[in-house]
């Protein structure tokens, strides 16, 4: 299958995120299709491909100040979309315009090194985000204050509990002031007190950031935070718009699928 290369045609406007006809293909690992030379050979002879569209025909625009919550079942394409927005994965077709610095927080820590201390991991993680020594020194007090890990920051990360790692990871990811913040589920981590502080910090970001994109399974959180809801299913946008309406549609879908396992086949999709 031939892929359409992205073009360099400019999309006018100053919106933080503009996505147009975005498409991403991945290798299909379903039904035990592990990659092998033999499988590749057979596919080539049959003229077939093991690729499938993880996202297709995705179009949306985020205006300044928008908070977009992406909802959908596991494997729907939420994380893939976040990775494309964070420029980690490049699309097979379509166009994306991103105006502003992006900070992505897709999982717990940028691969923390267990043997190293919290401070060393702060240094390492911020370096991966493109920070220089002076800039790191500037934000470390904020990370110390927000994470409230105290003397544990001197201890190796391998002795941290999952909650402590979550505190450190969230504190590092939000220590910067990005124009666009991209998050995947992660504010559900940590204890109740920390979750509240995370929510407060997200609210602060909503005042300063140009746009926020969050993928979540927590509908209440989506309703509280979002100015727009995107429901993705089978790699396609099923709904984009008012949060209350989007959540209602999604919950209806979930209740229908509970009663009728084949209901989702009727949905528009790519797979």
């Amino acid at each position: 299958m031939s892929s359409t290369l992205p073009t360099n045609k400019a999309i006018p406007g100053d919106d933080p995120i503009v996505v147009n006809q975005l498409g991403i293909r991945f290798r299909d690992y379903g039904a035990g299709k592990r990659p092998s030379l033999l499988r590749k050979f057979i596919s080539t002879i049959r003229g077939r491909t093991d690729l499938f569209w993880a996202l297709k025909d995705v179009n949306f625009v985020l205006k300044k100040g928008d908070v977009l919550c992406i909802i959908g079942r596991n494997g729907a394409g939420k994380t893939t979309l976040l990775k494309v927005l964070a420029q980690i994965i490049f699309p097979d077709c379509g166009m994306i315009s991103i105006n502003g610095d992006v900070s992505a927080f897709l999982s717990m820590g940028l691969g923390f090194q267990g043997e190293l201390s919290g401070y060393d991991n702060i240094n390492l993680s911020l370096s991966f985000m493109g920070f220089h020594r002076d800039q790191i020194e500037e934000v470390v007090p904020d990370i110390e204050e927000f994470s409230r890990l105290g003397k544990y920051l001197y201890a190796p990360v391998k002795v941290y509990s999952a909650g402590m790692k979550a505190r450190l990871a969230f504190s590092i990811a939000t220590s910067v002031n990005p124009d666009i913040l991209i998050m995947d589920e992660v504010i559900n981590a940590g204890d109740e007190e920390f979750r509240q502080r995370c929510a407060t910090r997200i609210s602060e970001f909503m005042d300063t950031a140009r746009a926020i994109v969050i993928a979540t399974h927590n509908m209440q959180q989506a309703l509280n935070l979002a100015s727009k809801i995107m429901w993705i299913e089978k790699g396609k946008i099923q709904f984009l718009g008012d949060p209350a309406e989007g959540v209602k549609l999604y919950e209806d879908f979930i209740s229908k699928i509970r009663n009728d396992p084949f209901y989702d086949i009727k949905l528009k999709g790519t797979q």
Partner: protein, 288 residues
């Protein structure tokens, strides 16, 4: 003000620019911007290599010393291998084995580099070539530490510094270029063709026996057929290791003409290898 499609911000390169020159220019700018990452990763690798062991940095010097002792045991106790051109055999091997270990540790590290840093690579965009430079710096620092042991052993065997030792930085530079030529494709292929990690130990072993580490070029010239001799001479490691031995053991200057030729060839190949890597690294995250 609207920016081009698929970028992004003023301080990041546009990954979709098609023009190779501008793509490279912006990539180099990004490499410079991420220079602190190279230093931090190299430092964390150094820390990781010793932090679990109470003897810590002493291991940098102990490892090469123990290696030397192994060869002394092999040669003295098992009674194999007489002097080579008047040089004690353990010393003859030691001068070759240290740069060899530096080379293979870099290559083996490159083959696992992307899986080791899969966390950051799959979560954030940064020039992955910085990781290769970090690996190279980390292994080079270990190699330089092992040279302290080498020089001590040379002095113990009454091999005093001479003017030819001044060629060492040039040979080291050519050797570094060779390693930097090999690392990017090994890293890239380890992502796209994981089987490479199975092949690599055999390829490195073959390369070990085909390089003048346990033997020297004079032996090769006298024992091999012309075709094999040409193959051995085309092996850049042969020339580099012979040069190390010439200056450190035989008080001879290296073949400067050949050294400069290899320098030019390797600069060209290293540049090609890095361009290849820059082109490929965009799709790494899909394979993780």
């Amino acid at each position: 003000m609207p920016r081009d499609i698929l970028d992004i911000s003023s301080n990041k390169s546009n990954p979709y620019q098609r023009d190779l020159f501008s793509q490279l220019k912006s990539y180099l700018r990004e490499l410079y911007r991420y220079r602190w990452l190279t230093i931090t990763v190299a430092y964390s690798e150094l820390q990781n290599s010793v932090i679990r062991y109470p003897m810590r940095y002493l291991w940098w010097f102990l490892e090469p010393l123990l290696l030397l002792l192994c060869y002394v045991f092999l040669i003295k106790v098992l009674g194999r291998g007489g002097p080579r051109n008047g040089v004690p055999f353990p010393l003859f091997i030691f001068v070759g084995i240290l740069p060899w270990f530096w080379t293979i540790k870099c290559i083996s590290g490159a083959s696992t580099l992307v899986s080791k840093y899969s966390g950051p690579i799959s979560q954030i965009r940064f020039p992955i070539l910085t990781l290769i430079f970090a690996l190279f710096i980390y292994q080079t620092l270990l190699f330089l530490a092992s040279l302290v042991v080498l020089v001590s052993v040379l002095l113990a065997f009454s091999y005093w510094p001479n003017v030819n030792w001044l060629y060492w930085p040039l040979i080291f530079f050519v050797h570094s270029l060779l390693i930097l030529t090999i690392l990017p494709p090994v890293t890239a292929f380890s992502v796209f063709v994981p089987d490479i990690s199975k092949f690599l130990p055999f390829i490195l072993r073959l390369w070990f026996y085909g390089s003048p580490i346990l033997w020297d070029m004079d032996m090769a010239k006298s024992h091999l057929s012309p075709a094999l001799k040409t193959l051995f001479i085309c092996n850049p490691i042969s020339f580099i290791f012979t040069s190390y031995r010439d200056i450190l053991l035989y008080n001879k200057s290296p073949d400067i003409h050949s050294l400069l030729c290899w320098l030019l060839v390797l600069i060209f190949l290293a540049a090609l290898s890095m361009i290849f890597f820059i082109n490929k690294e965009k799709s790494f995250a899909r394979f993780l």
